[in-house]
């Protein structure tokens, strides 16, 4: 059974864009999902134009012994390629005229922001206090960083990565996962994978276990009554956190980041029931609540 699934750089963002478009048609936040689809589509274009970024060979060599993620944003020196990715994404979204004027304004603002300021902003997003960052620019900047890190992760071989038992952070870049997906096709059938919010790597984690605190008792699967069977939240009565879990068995098209964004109703209901999200969706930033 594969413990780690590295991202397919040629398909990931195109598939996500397609899924977001499908979901946009029937979701109450359809307009925003259209924007997310445009971002994902631009990410696809950006990653296509991205030369494989240079990996830090020295760090990669040392990471297995240290049992640390080889592409951790804390250790890795970002190359300038991500600025190119951001420019492609901003231009791609700005070319769509149907979005609210605020979208064009942010695109304009990001085009004239200096490289140094963008790097400082990226550092804040990648650091612990990132979610209090400017919520208008954050989805665009994180999208560029996703394209960059996905290209990096896709260039790895599975043996470059050390898997610790029951990892709660991405073994490739150390980021928190967005959501879980229970895959339905061999060789992944029935296994739960966590999907990284930055580099889109997926790693195996035993099912019926809190991905935040590791508790195995008091785990429930909550969903919107009458809603899609493929979309649930794995809630933990111990730490009161949840991550959504998507079942390919019920809908083969589910995509962790897209479906998480398209199920805000579930988030609202769970917040009322006293549960909190274990991690943010990189395309939807909000102040701490």
């Amino acid at each position: 059974m594969p413990r780690l699934v590295l991202p397919a750089r040629g398909r990931l963002f195109a598939a996500r864009a397609e899924r977001l478009r499908t979901l946009a048609a029937s979701d109450a936040l359809g307009g925003y999902l259209e924007l997310a689809a445009a971002i994902a589509e631009a990410q696809h274009a950006a990653i296509g134009r991205l030369e494989t970024p240079v990996r830090d060979a020295a760090r990669l060599a040392v990471a297995p012994e240290e049992r640390r993620p080889p592409l951790s944003p804390r250790d890795l020196k970002r190359g300038p390629e991500w600025h190119t990715a951001l420019a492609v994404i901003v231009a791609g979204v700005a070319s769509v005229s149907t979005f609210p004027p605020a979208v064009a304004a942010v695109c304009e603002r990001l085009t004239v922001t200096s490289a140094d300021a963008l790097d400082a902003f990226a550092d804040r997003l990648l650091a612990a206090d990132g979610r209090d960052a400017d919520p208008a620019a954050a989805p665009f900047v994180i999208a560029a960083l996703q394209a960059y890190w996905t290209a990096l992760a896709a260039s790895l071989a599975p043996e470059d990565v050390t898997i610790v038992p029951q990892p709660s952070h991405c073994p490739v870049c150390g980021t928190l996962p967005v959501a879980s997906i229970v895959r339905s096709a061999a060789p992944y059938a029935g296994y739960r994978y966590l999907h990284c919010g930055l580099c889109a790597s997926e790693w195996h984690r035993v099912r019926v276990e809190c991905t935040q605190c590791g508790a195995i008792k008091g785990i429930a699967y909550q969903s919107v009554a009458g809603g899609p069977a493929a979309v649930r939240a794995e809630t933990c009565d111990t730490c009161r956190a949840y991550r959504k879990i998507f079942y390919q068995e019920h809908d083969p098209a589910v995509e962790p980041l897209a479906d998480d964004l398209a199920s805000v109703a579930l988030d609202l209901l769970l917040a009322e029931a006293g549960f909190h999200r274990a991690s943010t969706n990189p395309l939807l930033w909000q102040p701490s609540g």
Partner: protein, 196 residues
């Protein structure tokens, strides 16, 4: 977002959405907020267990609906092999795959029952009564048929007229204890999980 390690109380509400990327980029969360008022949560569980049939002891995932409240009975609606279990890796044999019907079977035995010799009817008895009766029958049989020495005069301490079949879903420790208890009585016909 990326490397949050501290406990993070991130709740999604009308207020947080109104200050989120969504709102500041010119989209309105009003539809979503209005829509959610007619929705409610449904709670399901997935529970690990071990197949009760044979000594292979396959891992199971049992799916049930219910809010887990004390007075509400959870109802199992699906059982499948546990993909993470090292023995069966998600698979089940036809008997195991039909466990749901076993759980909900109308003729499932729920309490001890007794049918007196020559009687047609089963009668319900208490656990104390059942254990008492079983112990009595075992003791009588052992007293009558215990074989301390073989025909050749060797000490054998055998009890050959009773057999013992133990559960499949037992741990090593339970297997050890069962063997100790059963063998110390001199029982020869005995099968349990410890054989596997």
């Amino acid at each position: 977002m990326a490397t949050l390690s501290r406990r993070d109380f991130l709740k999604v509400s009308g207020a947080t959405l109104a200050a989120s990327s969504l709102a500041v980029l010119g989209f309105t969360p009003q539809h979503a907020l209005a829509e959610v008022r007619q929705f409610k949560l449904e709670r399901a569980t997935e529970t690990r267990n071990t197949c009760p049939y044979c000594s292979v002891a396959c891992g199971l995932l049992m799916y049930s609906l219910g809010d887990g409240a004390k007075n509400a009975k959870a109802s199992i609606f699906h059982i499948e092999g546990d993909p993470d279990h090292p023995v069966n890796r998600g698979t089940l044999c036809p008997k195991g795959a039909a466990l749901l019907d076993f759980v909900h079977s109308k003729s499932r035995l729920l309490y001890p029952q007794y049918r007196a010799p020559k009687a047609k009817e089963w009668q319900r008895i208490s656990w104390d009564e059942a254990l008492e009766k079983t112990a009595r029958l075992l003791k009588t049989d052992r007293d009558a048929n215990f074989l301390a020495k073989s025909a050749a005069g060797l000490t054998v301490n055998r009890w050959e007229t009773t057999g013992f079949l133990a559960a499949s879903a037992s741990s090593n420790e339970v297997g050890y204890l069962t063997a100790k208890v059963v063998r110390s009585l001199g029982l020869m016909a005995f099968d349990n999980q410890a054989r596997v």
